[in-house]
């Protein structure tokens, strides 16, 4: 068993920690307060080239391994989860299907500019009546001439209202349920494609999240993203573990950010004549938080290692996402207790971590769905 990072991974971690500390973390509070997409930071940060993190060097990517990807997700979320969500959408879900199935022309038009930060990508699964339950997808794609006609409304779309293109999940045959699902590329400016309501969220502010409307949108055959019809749900499976581990890594990042603030505070805040870090009940909180975060980190990076080595990571990815998010919720809660009443004021940061953490409960599968999946996988069909 070897838990050490390679010299390359260690170096990458150091660089990304420094970059986040210098560019992202100082803006986090402002991003949250304004709740507007931070265009200036987006331009500065994406100019560094991180959006090609997962993709091969030949097309301008970095070809980072999964351990490095998790390090990136964790650290950028530590800096500002509102910003991290937009960045990660371009890196992972928003471009995955274009890289895998897109024609050269689509790659030139959408993927490469998205890797450079010139275009904003997104991925649309969720609808008002379906999230984890993909089989209930009501958006339809019907064959029409040399293309497809798409109708439906998507909800809770990260980057949705500002996206330049999206990968949309639609059913080509509602009678087939999950086997009728397919992915299509829809670009901004396509007639009938528009953004609807922008959501006013409790946390992860700064990420523009909202509704996308597909009203008789016609796209050419080229925009069908897949090898053959009906395999959409299989493709989702191919990326799901990485998405779940990524969500866990983001949870860990938020937890770490909150924990660092709590630690600083516990060292400086004096009560009854001494720093509160001298009191056993406060120390216990740090012991618990550190233990839980280490456990979550081991799960996430173990999952990433399995994924990197082509092993079946379905269970560990679900478990790691769920565990890390619950750990995050515990850590942000303890941070508000250590901070005392100041945690309740918008002037201080703990309330931001407290709000941000809640959003990770839903992305990558609710814990109710995940627990059922894990339990079912273990027990099997009886």
């Amino acid at each position: 068993m070897d838990f050490t990072l390679s010299e390359q991974q260690e170096f990458f971690k150091k660089i990304i920690v420094d970059t986040v500390d210098r560019m992202v973390a100082p803006k986090a509070q402002e991003i949250d307060e304004k709740d507007e997409f931070p265009w200036e930071l987006w331009r500065e940060f994406t100019a560094l080239g991180y959006l090609g993190l997962r993709y091969p060097e030949e097309i301008g990517g970095m070809n980072a391994d999964k351990i490095m990807c998790m390090t990136f997700y964790e650290e950028i979320a530590r800096g500002s989860v509102g910003f991290a969500q937009s960045v990660i959408m371009n890196i992972l879900m928003g471009t995955y299907f274009l890289y895998r199935f897109g024609s050269d022309s689509i790659k030139e038009r959408c993927l490469f500019p998205a890797m450079r930060g010139e275009k904003i990508a997104t991925m649309c699964f969720t609808e008002d009546q379906s999230g984890s339950d993909l089989g209930a997808t009501r958006t339809t794609a019907v064959k029409d001439g040399n293309g497809w006609r798409i109708n439906g409304t998507k909800m809770w779309i990260t980057n949705g209202p500002i996206c330049d293109f999206c990968t949309v999940l639609a059913t080509t045959d509602p009678s087939k349920g999950l086997k009728g699902l397919n992915f299509f590329l829809v670009e901004k400016g396509t007639p009938g494609f528009s953004s609807g309501q922008v959501l006013n969220k409790l946390g992860c502010r700064g990420t523009v999240t909202g509704e996308l409307v597909f009203d008789n949108v016609w796209v050419p055959d080229e925009n069908f993203l897949g090898d053959e019809l009906g395999k959409g749900v299989i493709y989702v499976g191919d990326i799901l573990d990485e998405v779940r581990l990524m969500t866990g890594a983001m949870a860990l990042g938020i937890a770490k950010g909150a924990y660092n603030e709590a630690l600083e505070f516990a060292k400086k805040r004096v009560a009854f004549g001494q720093p509160i870090g001298n009191y056993q009940l406060i120390r216990e909180k740090f012991a618990d938080m550190d233990t839980l975060m280490n456990a979550a980190r081991l799960m996430i990076y173990y999952g990433a290692w399995m994924l990197e080595n082509g092993m079946d990571s379905r269970l560990i990815a679900a478990e790691a996402k769920m565990f890390a998010t619950e750990v995050c919720l515990k850590v942000v809660d303890e941070t508000t207790r250590i901070y005392g009443a100041n945690a309740f004021a918008y002037e201080y940061t703990p309330q931001r971590y407290f709000r941000d953490a809640r959003f990770l409960l839903y992305g990558g599968g609710t814990h109710e769905v995940l627990k059922d999946f894990i339990g079912r996988s273990i027990i099997g069909k009886l």
Binding site: F11, F12, I15, T19, L48, Y50, G52, L53, M62
Partner: protein, 263 residues
């Protein structure tokens, strides 16, 4: 222009540092960075390279294997190559020895200009640059805040003096140390990070620079650390009580006279 940059890897300002039980050595948490002032030197070298045709930036440090990370950071920023002069088992407390070795490297490597930070933020000695320039018998200006190239053999620099600036012209080769304000060190691009991750960083044995081991080992040090001590704790804060602001001010003045004896 052949530009050499000397850097040092130092403990992060937030790293936990404990004095070991022998009182003569430190236990430092595993958080290290490229020295704050050296970042300005690396950045300035890279900017110079962009301005002066056919320039090359070589970065070098005298340190342990761990310091390769700091060298990689410099490559990620844009340096062309880096060398580690390995000080394993030769860790010295005497900056004169470090300066001798770096000067030896500069002689061997060749240079038109040497840049380094004005001081390291760990030991705060601030004497390596000066001593290296002495060993090399070249001009030196400390703590520069601006650098302009006149021609291949001449540069002008600015440094802060009491109440103003001093502008100097210098004939190359020369050594300059960099001060905060000269530039804003860049955040590395991912292309730089990738180059740095793959970069082969040669390890140079100090003995290969013409120094016998007994000239540079711990016994050769003319400076030895006797002990480290933590700063004395601050005296407790005194809160001046009183019914009215007038009363509080009176008490404060009394204390400043009688206790602090500053009035």
């Amino acid at each position: 222009m052949n530009i050499l940059v000397f850097i040092k890897q130092v403990a992060d300002t937030e790293a936990r540092i404990l004095i070991k039980s022998d009182n003569r050595s430190l236990e430092i948490e595993n958080k290290f960075n490229l020295n704050f002032f050296d970042e300005f030197a690396v950045e300035e070298a890279i900017r110079l390279k962009a301005k002066v045709k056919d320039s090359k930036v070589t970065v070098c440090t005298y340190g342990g294997k761990k310091a390769i990370e700091a060298l990689r950071t410099a490559i990620a920023m844009g340096a062309d190559q880096a060398y580690l002069i390995d000080n394993t088992d030769l860790d010295t407390e005497d900056p004169l020895i470090t300066a001798k070795i770096l000067a030896g490297f500069a002689k061997k490597e060749g240079f038109d200009l040497i840049l380094c930070g004005r001081q390291a933020i760990d030991d705060e000695n601030g004497n390596i640059g000066v001593m290296v320039s002495e060993f090399l018998n070249i001009p030196h200006v400390s703590a520069i805040t601006k650098l302009d190239v006149v021609d291949e053999k001449k540069i002008t620099v600015e440094n802060d003096v009491e109440g103003g600036k001093e502008i100097k012209e210098i004939i190359l080769p020369a050594l300059l140390t960099t001060q905060k304000g000269i530039n804003e060190p860049r955040v590395p691009l991912i292309t730089g990070v990738m180059k740095a991750m793959k970069a082969n960083i040669p390890v140079v044995e100090p003995t290969s620079l013409g120094f016998a081991k007994d000239m540079i080992d711990k016994n050769a040090s003319k400076i030895k650390v006797i002990s480290y001590e933590t700063p004395k704790g601050r005296p407790p804060v005194k809160i001046i009580e009183g019914e009215t602001p007038d009363e509080k001010v009176k008490k404060l003045i009394q204390l400043l006279r009688e206790e602090a004896k500053v009035l």
